[in-house]
Symmetry: D2
Subunit: 481 residues, 4 copies
C-alpha cells in the first residue's frame, strides 16, 4: 500500500500449506494476499510425496508465475511460499526465497520473515569454520546451524539452531515428511494457523491469507513455539520457555492489511481507533478530513467520526504502477510524483483540510502531499499522524536501521511542521497508540514493541549495539533534503 512513496519496508511474507491436492496454487493465492509485504521477488517450494521442487524469481508474484504451467510444474500436496520486500540495490535472484536445499540424505525448503540481530557474527563464525553462503540473506544461517548441529534428531537440531539465532523471526520449513513453523521468543512478527475446508492446515504471516483461501482461523503461533504439521494434524512444541509478547506495533500502524487480525485485534479497527483517539488528542477546526491513500484511510475515517468533520476524498491514488524514468527536469520530476497521487481540486479548493497519515519517516512524502493539496487550492493543511514520532531504528525486521533517515529523531515537532509546510502538525501519543490497539498481554506496553518510538528494545541488540550507540550521537538536518 503506497509502498512506492514510503521508505519503510516490511521484511517479507510467508505462507505454507500441508494436505491440499493443489498446494502450489493455494500458496499462490495466499501469497497474493501477502504481496503488500514484499514486491522484490517471490517463490514457491512444493512437496510431492517427499520430493521437493521449487521456483522463484525477481518481481511481483504475477510476474514470477506468469501462466498455469509455472504452477503445474510444482506438483504436490504441500507447499511453502515467500514474497520478499523491495530494496534498491541487491536485486539478485539468489536472495529470493524459499530456499531449497538438497542434501545426499534429504531435501529442505526454508522461508523466513524477520531480521536476526546476531547474523553478522554467526555468519563470520560459520565461514571461519568452512561454511559457504550463497546469498546475502540471513536465512541461510539457520540451515548451516541445523546441518552442523550434533544433536540426535532433526527436531533437536532445529531447536539448537533456533536458540542460537537472535532477533525477530518467523520461519516455515518444508521437510520431506512434515512442515514446520517457528516464531521468535518475543513474537515480533505475526504468524497464524488456519484450516481449510478439506482439513489442510495453513500457516501464514497474516490472517488475510487465510480468508483468501477460505480457511478458518485456528490460533496464532505463540512466541517460542515450534509448530509441526503432517498428515496427522499439527502438534505444538517449544524451543524456549523464556518468552514474552512484543508484537511489532508498526504492523498495526502501517504494514498489515486492514482485513487481517493480529493477536485477535482487527487492523482496520485498530487504525480507526487510532484516528478516533488522535481526534481527541489533537483536535482542529477544519472543513474536511482527508486520508492519505491507502494505508491511512481507516485512521482518517475514525478521525472524521470522532470529530464530526466530514470525511472527503481529497487525494486519489493511481492504482496502476508507474515506472520511474530518469526525469530530465525538475518540472517533469514533480509530474512524476503526481502520477502516483493526485489532489482533487474540486474537493479541496478553498478549504481547510485535516490530512491524516499513519506515520512520518523522512518527511519528504508528507512535504509533497501538503504541497499537492496547497497547489490544488487548500487554504490550510493540518497534518495529523496516527502514531507517535519514529525516532529509533528497528532491528527485528523493518528496514529502518539508522536514525539518520528519521526526521523525528533529528527535529522537534515544530521543526517537522515547518519542514513539511503544514499549518499544524500533531502525532498520536504512545499511550494513545497502545490504548487504540487494545492488547492486554502481561508484558511491557501491553505486549507491543514500541522501540521505534521510545528506544526501549525488548532484547539485547548484539551485532547492532555499537552501531546503535553511535547513531544516538548523530544529528542530520532534514531542511535541505
Amino acid at each position: 500500500m503506497s509502498y512506492e512513496v514510503k521508505s519503510l519496508n516490511e521484511e517479507c511474507g510467508i505462507f505454507g500449506v500441508w494436505g491440499h491436492p493443489d498446494a502450489a496454487r493455494v500458496t499462490y493465492f495466499g501469497l497474493h494476499s501477502l504481496q503488500h509485504r514484499g514486491q522484490e521477488g517471490a517463490g514457491i517450494v512444493a512437496n510431492h510425496e517427499g520430493k521437493l521442487s521449487g521456483y522463484r524469481d525477481l518481481g511481483l508474484l504475477s510476474e514470477v508465475f506468469k501462466d498455469d504451467r509455472d504452477l503445474e510444474n510444482l506438483q504436490g500436496s504441500a507447499a511453502i511460499g515467500h514474497v520478499r520486500y523491495a530494496t534498491a540495490g541487491n536485486g539478485s535472484v539468489d536472495n529470493i526465497q524459499p530456499f531449497l536445499f538438497k542434501f545426499y540424505d534429504c531435501s529442505c525448503g526454508l522461508a523466513h520473515n524477520g531480521n536476526l540481530t546476531n547474523a553478522r557474527s554467526l555468519r563470520t563464525e560459520l565461514e571461519r569454520d568452512g561454511a559457504i553462503f550463497h546469498s546475502n540473506s540471513d536465512t541461510e544461517i539457520l540451515m548451516h546451524l541445523i546441518r552442523r548441529s550434533k544433536a540426535d534428531n532433526w527436531l533437536d537440531q532445529l531447536k539448537e539452531a533456533l536458540n542460537t539465532v537472535q532477533g525477530g523471526f518467523a520461519y516455515i520449513l518444508m521437510r520431506e515428511d512434515c512442515m514446520v513453523a517457528a516464531l521468535d521468543a518475543n513474537g515480533f512478527r505475526p504468524l497464524a494457523i488456519g484450516q481449510m475446508k478439506n482439513g489442510a492446515y495453513v500457516i501464514a504471516s497474516e490472517t488475510c491469507a487465510l480468508e483468501v483461501i477460505g480457511a478458518e482461523f485456528v490460533r496464532d503461533v505463540q512466541p517460542g513455539e515450534i509448530i509441526i504439521v503432517n498428515d496427522e494434524g499439527f502438534t505444538v512444541d517449544h524451543f524456549t520457555e523464556e518468552t514474552q509478547h512484543a508484537i511489532c506495533s508498526m504492523e498495526y500502524v502501517y504494514f498489515a492489511r486492514p482485513d487481517s487480525n493480529i493477536a485477535g485485534v482487527n487492523v482496520h479497527t485498530a487504525r480507526k481507533n487510532m484516528g478516533r483517539r488522535l481526534a481527541k488528542e489533537a483536535p482542529v477546526d477544519a472543513d474536511m478530513v482527508i486520508g492519505v491513500p491507502n494505508s491511512s484511510l481507516s485512521a482518517a475515517s475514525g478521525f472524521s467520526e470522532a470529530s464530526g468533520i466530514p470525511y472527503e476524498m481529497g487525494l486519489v491514488k493511481n492504482q496502476y504502477i508507474a515506472r520511474t524514468f530518469i526525469q530530465p527536469t525538475q518540472e517533469l520530476r514533480e509530474q512524476g510524483v503526481r502520477m502516483k497521487l493526485s489532489a482533487v481540486r474540486g474537493v479541496v479548493e478553498g478549504k481547510k483540510v485535516i490530512m491524516v497519515d499513519d506515520s512520518i519517516v523522512r518527511g519528504t512524502t508528507s512535504r509533497r502531499i501538503v504541497q499537492l493539496l496547497k497547489e490544488a487550492g487548500a487554504k490550510e493543511v493540518h497534518v495529523r499522524i496516527a502514531s507517535p514520532p519514529l525516532k529509533y531504528p528497528c532491528f527485528y525486521g523493518i528496514d529502518i536501521q539508522t536514525r539518520k533517515e528519521l526526521i523525528a529523531a533529528n527535529h522537534t515537532i515544530a521543526e517537522i511542521c515547518e519542514c513539511i509546510g503544514a499549518d499544524s502538525l500533531n502525532f498520536l501519543s504512545e499511550e494513545g497508540l497502545i490504548d487504540a490497539i487494545g492488547l492486554d498481554f502481561d508484558a511491557p506496553y501491553s505486549g507491543l514493541c514500541m522501540a521505534y518510538f521510545n528506544g526501549d528494545y525488548p532484547t539485547p541488540l548484539y551485532d547492532y549495539e555499537e552501531q546503535y550507540q553511535a547513531s544516538l550521537k548523530e544529528k542530520v538536518s532534514f531542511f535541505n533534503l
Copy 2:
C-alpha cells in the same frame, strides 16, 4: 477501478500536447492518469518538426513503454497518445492507437475515443469502392473519408468526414503543422483543454490528466467543435451547428476518476451526492455503510454522512494485479474471486451492513460480494445502488451492446434482490441521479445521456437499429448464471 470484476468497459482515453520540448514524456504522464479508461494497449505518436514517429503495443502503459529509451525514440515538441480498453478476444496490435498514416504528401496520427453507429455501413461502402482496412477499429474510417473527400483543403475534408460519421466520438489528430481535436455533436464523451506553465496546450479525455502534468484547465471542448492547436495557440471551429449536450451519465457514475471534473462538476462530489440522495430515497436501519472499492467509496461516504450510519472498511481490494489462471475446481475458483476483494471479518461479523455500489450489470459481482460479506459473518446485507437500473445498451462508446447481459433489463428489482442474495435492494431514481450531478444545460435530462436507464437515445441508431429492436423482445433469466 475494479475493472477486473465489472463487465462495463469504457472505450479508451486520449491525450495530446503541442508545444512542450518533451512532448512524448508529457503524454506518457497524461496517459498514465487515464489508464483506468483502457488497459488493453497504449501508444504515442510524436511530431518532431513535422516528422511523425510512433510506438504502440498491447499491455498497460508501463508494459508498453518499459524504459527511458522507448520514450527517447519519440522526439518532438508535440505528441498524441491513446490507451485502449481491454476486451477478451481481439488482442491484435493492429488495433492499438494512435494510428500513424504515412502518405506520399503528408503524415497523420489519429486517436479516437467513442463508437460510431454507422461504422459497419460506412466500412462496407468504402471497401466496395476499393478501400483496404488494416484493423477492426472504427477509427480508420475517418481517415478513409478524409482521403477520399474532394473538398479543397484539409479542414473542409475533415469537416466533411466528421459530418459523415455518426455516434459518439472524441478525436485527436496529429498533423505535421498542427494538432486537431473534434467532439461529436452530442458531446457524449468528455474532452478538456488545458495549458501548461510553459504555454503548451493540452487536450485530454479527463481533467485528471491536466492535473497530473501541472496544466491549468482552460475549457471543455463543446459538442460539434473542432479545436486546432498550433504554435500560435488554439482556434475553435465547428463541423456542425446542430448540437446539444447529452453527456454520458455513466462517466459520473462509474468511469471517470473522482478527481476529474466533467462540464464543471467534480466526479467525487457528484458521486457523494448520489450517495446522499440514495440515503434519502432508500433509507435502512443498519450498523454500518460499506462501499465496494474503489469506484463506490465516494457514494458510500455520502450515504454514511446523510444517514448518520458509520462508514466502515468492510471490503478490501488487493491492489496487485491477479492473473486469472485456469482454475480446476469450484473451490479454487471462489478463492480466485477472493484474490481481488476480501470481506473484513473483524469489521462485519454479526453486523447489519449497507453495501453501496455504483451499478449492477449482470449481477454476478454483486452476488459474489454479498456472499463474501455473509461468509465473513454479516447478519444482514442491504444493497444500495447509486444509479438507476441499467436496462438498455449503449452505442456511443460503452461496451454494453446487448440487453442480454443486463440483469435489470430482464428482471424486476425484487428478482434481482433475490438473485444476488441481498436482504434488501434499492436503486437511485433517474431524477435523483440528474439532481445529484446537477448539470443545467438547456437539453433533455439537464444535458445528460440517460439512455442506458430509460432507452431514450439522443440520436438515431443507424446500423444498430435492427439489432436494438430485436433485443427489446429478448428475455434471459439470470437465476442460473
Copy 3:
C-alpha cells in the same frame, strides 16, 4: 550464408502448401530451409476451411515461432509463409509478410519476393485516388490494384493487376478457396512447384524447400504464369504471353542454397563449374586453395580439382551468431571481425594461398579476409572471384540500388587488388559464368539476367531510370573506406 559480412541482400523467400492437415507446420519446415533468403522477419497465414488466420513478427523463424502453440494457433489444411530480408533501419512489423487482408466479403493472404520498378508511381497514383497504405512494402500495391479493378471476377482482376505492376516478382496469394502463385514475365526470381506424398501441392522459392518436406519436384513456374491450386489439383493460366527467361544469375553465384536446383541446374554443381572455369581462366601457382565459408566452398573445391592444388580449411566460420556491440576501440573492433571468421594459422602459416570468393561488393570484406590470412602467416594471398565484377545496380529484387556501393563500378581490377591487399586478383569472365551455369534458353545470355555485370537490363527501368542514369556519372574512391 555469411550474410553478416556481405552487403548483398536477397529480397525474401516464399512458400505455400495446399492440402496437408498440418499446413502451418509444413510451411514452417519449408521456410526454415529458405531462412538464408531473409532474416529480418517471418510469418505464416493459414487457411482453415476458408477462415484465414496469421502470425508474423520480426526476427528469425525460430524467434517468431517460439513454441508449438504458435503453430497450433494456425490451424488449417493450407498455408503460405514468408521470410523477409534483413535491412538496417526499417524494422517495423508492419512490413513483415504474408499480409492478411480482411474485407467485408472475403479474406486474402499475400506473400511477395521481388521488387517492382514502377512501385513509387503506382503508389502515388493510388494515394491520390484515396488509397491508404499501411506498410512501406511494394507488396500492398498488388492488393489495391486488385480491389480497385472493375473486372468481372477475381482472376481477371488479378491478371489486370499483374499486368500493371512492373519489375521482378514472385507472388503467392492465399484465397479462401484456392492458393495462387504468379511469376513476372522475365522469370527473374525462382519459383518451383512440388508435390508431397499425400498429394498436397507446394510452391516455394527454392527446391531445397521441397526436399526438406519430402516433396517431389513437379515443375518450375514459368515467366508470366499464374498457378491456381485447389482441392482438384493445380491449373496453369497466364497473365501475359510476352515472356522470356532472364533468371537472376546471382541466385546461382551467391543467393540460392547449394542443394537447390534452378531451371534444372544444381546450384552447387554450377558453382563448382564456376571454380573449375576460373582455375583455367586465371591459374596461379600456390600451395593451397581456400574457400570463404560458406557460400564459396563449392567454387573453391572446383578450383582445387581443376588446378590440382589441394583444398584446405584455412578459414573457419563461427556458426554462432555474434551480437555486434558498440565497440569502443579499434583493437576491439578487429576482434569483432574475428568472431565471425578465423584464419587457421596451423594451415596457412608460411604458405601461398588461393582465396576463392563468390563475389566482391564493396571490397571491405575481402580486404579483411586477406588481412586475416596474412596476419595468420600466409606468404601470398591470390584472390579469385567466381563471378564477373559487379558494376551495375539491380532493380529486380537484390538490394544493390546504387553504383556507389560497388567497388568494381568505381575501380579497375588492378586498383581493387591493391585496395584489398591481395597479391593478385582475377574475376571469372561473363562467358565463363554463362557456360558454367549451362542454361540453354532461347534468350539473351542463354536465359540469364547479367545486368549487374554489364548493365544490359531486360526491361525498362521505369521509376528507377532517372536515378540510374545519374549513377552512371558518379565515381567514388574506395581507398579510404
Copy 4:
C-alpha cells in the same frame, strides 16, 4: 558443430584474462569462439580493483549478454568466463558458471571444465560434515575443500584441494589479487596461455580463443601445473609432480575447433591426416567423397586427396537453429531431421558415395544420413569413420557415462553396418588415429587418452568403478531403436 544430432557433449569451455581495461568484453569474444564447447549457459565474473561482480544465465552467449549494458556492468581489468554444455533436464541457472563466492574475508570466482571421478564420495563426506551445496555441479567441491583446509595460505589450501579431487579438470579461479589456473595430473583437457598486444595474459580452453582476440600463443598449461597471473606477469607452480600426458583424443576427433592447436598439433591438420590414413586403411571404389558437415569436412577432404576421388558437397547443413517442436506424426518427424541436414539430389543421384564421419555414438544419426543420401538417389553409400569404434564410457569430461548408449560396445562392425543401412563400413584403427595426430610424449599412446576405444583408463575410476564393472556385462540391441 552439428551438436544437435550428436549425443556427445563436451563439458564446457573456460577463459580468463588479466590486465586488459575491457576485460569482460575480451572474455565475451573469447567465450564466443568457445561456444561450441557448451550451449546451455554462459557467464562472466569480472574483477574491478579487487571487487568481483558477475553475471550468468541459461542460453547461448548472445542470449545471456543481450546488449552492451550487460557487459558494461562488468567493469574491471580482469575477468573469467565459462560456457556450459547442453543437457536435457538439469536446466537450472544455479549450475551456470563461473561461480562467484563471497566471504567475510574475500571473494572468489571459479570456472571449471572437466569431470571429477570422486565427486560423489567427496560431496557426501563434506555434507556429513555440515557443508551445504547450492548446485548439482562438481565445481563447488573444490571451493569447499579450499575453505575447510587448515593449510597456512591460500596457495597451500588450493594445492591440498587439487590433490584431493580426482579425474579430469581444468580450473580458472579469479581471486581479488590474481587469477589462477590449474590442470589435472593427466592433462585430459586442453588449456593454453596467450598474451595480448598490451601485455595482458589470457588462459583459454582452446587456442582459437587466443586468435579471436589477437593474442599470441605462449605455452600450453602442463599436467599438474598451477599458473598464477597477476600484474607482475605469470608464474608456474605445481600441485603434484606425478604427472603424465593423457590428452583426450576426442578433442582432436570431434570437439575442438579445426583452427585450434592442441599440444602444438593443428586440429584440422590432424583430422585431414585421419582422413588420409583412413583412405589407405579402408579404400573403396566410388564416385565421390562426402563429409558430414561440419566436423567431418577436414577428414573427408583428407580422404579425397589420399584416394584421388573427388570431394563433393553432397550434404548441406542449415546454419539456422531449428527448434524441435513436438511433432505429431512420423512423416513430420522425418521432415524435422531434414531441417538440419539435406542431401543434395543434384550431386548424389545415381552415384556411389563415400560418406566420411568423425565418429558413431548410437548410430541413429548415421542411419538417418545414409537414408537421406539413398532417398536423394545415391546408388551406394560407403561409410568411413575417421576414428576407432567408441566402446567405453568417459569419466573425465565427456558426456558418455554408460556403454548402453554406444552401438560399438554392443555390436560388431558388420552389425553396425547393417543397422545404419550402409553398403560398407570401416573405422580408423587405433594406431591410425595415434599416427594421424602425431604426438610424441613419452607416455602410453604417445600421450593420448584412448580409453573410449580400448578401456585403458589412465587413472583409477573411484566412484565410477562399480558402475563401470557392471556396464561391461550389459548388452543392448540397437536394431530396434
